[in-house]
Symmetry: C2
C-alpha cells in the first residue's frame, strides 16, 4: 500500500488551510509537504503531484509572514517614488512597468513615496533598517549618490533609474539623455534656429550632465549660440517658467529654439512666448521629451521625442530581479535609446 490512509482529523475545512492541513489530508509529514511544494527533486514526483493537487483543492496559500520569518526574505520590491515624478503620469507608468516585470514572480511591489523636501536617503535607510524589501528601485541619481553608496556598502540589492559616476558598477536603467539633447539641437538647427536654449534639471543630478554634454557637443559642432537660463530648471513650476519665458521672449537675446526635457516646461514656455506675441513654428521652435501621450495628442505636430517610462519600469524590475538573484553581478545596465522620428519637415509646413 503506497500511501497511509488519510487521517481524518478534527481541523481541516475550518479556518485557513496550512501545510499542516495538507499533511493531515495526505498523511505526509509537514516537512515533506513543504519540500514537495518547493518542487524539491528529492521528493517523489507522485508525492509532489499529490501534494499540489490537494493544496489546490483546499485553496492553500503560503503564509508570507511565516516564510519571511523563516527565510529572511521578504519577497518584496520597494519602489521609491520621487515627488518630482508627480507630473503627467510619470510615477504611474513606472509603477505599472515594475508591476509588469514582477507579475508571474512571487515578488510584490511596495511603493514608498518620498515626501517633498525630505532627504532622499531617508526612505532607503528606513527600508533597509526595517528589512521591508529584498530590493530597492529609485530614481534621479546623482553622480556620487549617497543612496547608492549606502546600499552598496551593505550589499543590499538595488537598481537605479539613472547613472552614477562611482568607480564601481551597479545595476541601472537610464535614458540616453545625451543623445536626446544632441539630436534636439540638430533638429532645431534643421529648422533654421540659431539661438538654442535648453532647460536643464538641477545640476546635482547626473542627467543634468548628460543633457548638458549632448547639448554642448552639438552647439559647438554646429557653431550655434547656446543659452542656458540661470534661474530656471526642469523642476521650476509652470508659472515661474511662464514668467521667465514671457520676459525673455521680447528681449533681443530671445532664444528661437528650445529643448524641453519635460512636458510642463514646454507648455509654460510656449504660453510665455505666445503671451509675448510670438508663435511657435514662426518665431521659435521646440523639441520636447515627453513621457506621456498627452502632448502628442494635443498637437501631433510638436517635435517630440518620447521616453517610454513604462518600459523603463519593466527594465528596472527585471534588472532588479536579476540583481537579487546574483547579488555579486554582473550588473544589468540598460540604456534606453531615444526614438527619434520627427514629423517630416515637409509635411510640417502645410
Amino acid at each position: 500500500m503506497p500511501t497511509k490512509k488519510p487521517t481524518i482529523s478534527s481541523s481541516h475545512s475550518a479556518s485557513k488551510p496550512t501545510q499542516k492541513t495538507i499533511a493531515e489530508i495526505t498523511g505526509l509529514a509537514v516537512t515533506t509537504v513543504s519540500r514537495a511544494l518547493q518542487g524539491d527533486e528529492k521528493i517523489a514526483q507522485a508525492t509532489r503531484l499529490r501534494v499540489s493537487k490537494v493544496a489546490e483543492e483546499i485553496g492553500y496559500v503560503p503564509d508570507r509572514a511565516a516564510q519571511r520569518l523563516r527565510t529572511g526574505k521578504t519577497k518584496v520590491v520597494s519602489l521609491i517614488l520621487d515627488p518630482h515624478n508627480e507630473i503627467l503620469g510619470f510615477g504611474n507608468s513606472l509603477i505599472t512597468g515594475v508591476a509588469h516585470a514582477l507579475a508571474g514572480t512571487d515578488y510584490h511591489l511596495n511603493v514608498t513615496p518620498q515626501f517633498l523636501g525630505g532627504d532622499p536617503i531617508e526612505p532607503v535607510e528606513y527600508i533597509v533598517r526595517n528589512k521591508l524589501a529584498d530590493g530597492i528601485i529609485f530614481s534621479r541619481t546623482r553622480p556620487f549618490d549617497e543612496r547608492v553608496r549606502f546600499l552598496r556598502e551593505r550589499s543590499f540589492p538595488f537598481t537605479t533609474h539613472g547613472r552614477t559616476e562611482f568607480g564601481y558598477q551597479h545595476s541601472y536603467v537610464d535614458y540616453d539623455n545625451e543623445k536626446f539633447a544632441y539630436e534636439s539641437v540638430l533638429r532645431l538647427m534643421q529648422k533654421g534656429r540659431r539661438r538654442i536654449c535648453i532647460i536643464l534639471p538641477p545640476n546635482q543630478f547626473t542627467f543634468h550632465q548628460h543633457l548638458n554634454y549632448g547639448y554642448m557637443r552639438a552647439i559647438r559642432q554646429e557653431g550655434l549660440q547656446s543659452y542656458i537660463p540661470g534661474g530656471i530648471s526642469l523642476d521650476s513650476d509652470m508659472p515661474e517658467v511662464f514668467e521667465w519665458a514671457k520676459n525673455i521672449a521680447s528681449s533681443p537675446e530671445a532664444p528661437d529654439g528650445f529643448i524641453c526635457p519635460g512636458e510642463t516646461s514646454f507648455l509654460a514656455i510656449a504660453n510665455g512666448y505666445r503671451q509675448a506675441g510670438k508663435a511657435r513654428g514662426l518665431d521659435f521652435d521646440a523639441v520636447v521629451k515627453s513621457s506621456s501621450q498627452t502632448l502628442h495628442q494635443i498637437d501631433p505636430h510638436i517635435d517630440n521625442i518620447s521616453e517610454d517610462i513604462q518600459e523603463a519600469g519593466v527594465l528596472l524590475g527585471t534588472n532588479l530581479l536579476k540583481t537579487m538573484e546574483h547579488p555579486d553581478g554582473p550588473f544589468e545596465q540598460t540604456i534606453q535609446d531615444p526614438d527619434i522620428t520627427f514629423p517630416s519637415l515637409k509635411s510640417f509646413q502645410d
Copy 2:
C-alpha cells in the same frame, strides 16, 4: 538592588538586535521586554523607560514578519491603483495623500496596480486570499460594486473612493460630482451658453449617475438644451474625443458649452473645436474639473473646478484607519465639497 546585573552574553552587537538582545542586556525576560515596548501599564514605568532606552541605543527595530505571524496583523494598507488613474498625476496624488495619512502610524502602504482590462475584483481577492493587508482602498465604485460586496461579506476593512448604492453603510470618500455638474451648468448659462454638453464617465460607475443628476437638474431648472454624446466617455482617449469634437463643431447642433469632468477631454475638445475654426470664449465655453495644477497653469482663465486628490488620499487613509480600529462602524463617510471660485466674468472679458 532593583535590577539584576546585565548578563553579558556572547551574542549582542553582532547581527540584528532582537528583543532577546534587549532581554540579555537588561536582565529581563523577553516577555517583559515585549510588553514594555508595547507600553503595557502593568510594567513598571522605570522598566518601560529602561527598555526603550536600551532599544534605542542598540538600534532595535521590531521584526514585522514575526509580529505579523504572531498577531495575524500585516500592518499594511493596500491601495489599488486603477489604470485610468494614470492621467495627469491622479494616482501619484492619491498615493501621496494616503502615505501622509499613514505617516506616524505603523502602517505601511502597498500599492497594487490593477492591470488594464483585468477584472477589478482580482486584486481585491488576491489581497484578501493572501492576507497581504489589513485594509484596502480602491476607486471607481459602481452602484452595486462587487468588490464592496466581497469585502463586506468577509468583514474585511476597506474604504472606497466613490459611493455605492447598497442598502448598508460602508466607509468612503467621494467628491460631490452632482454639485460640480450642477454648478457647471449654471456657470455656462451665466456666460450665455444654451446647448450644454457633458462628457460622462462610462455608465457603470456611480459617479456617472451623480454627474448626470446634477447636470439634468440644472438643465431642466434653467430650461437649457442638453447634449450627451453617445460614443464618447471620460475614458475615451484623446484622439477619439478630438475627432468627435471636430466633427460636431461644424454641425448645426454643435454644443456651445462643455462640462469636462476630466482635463484630457477638455484638451481634446478644445483642440477639436479650434481645428474646426471655433474659439473658446467666443464660440463656446467649458468648465473643467481638474485634479492637477497643470491646466490652470497653462491658462488661468479656464473655468476650472478643482478636485483635491491628495486631500482625498488623506481622507481615505484616515477613514480606513478608523475603520480598521472599529470594524463594525460607525463608518466614516466624507464628501469633498467642490471649491467653486471662477474668475469673475468681468476680469475674464479683458
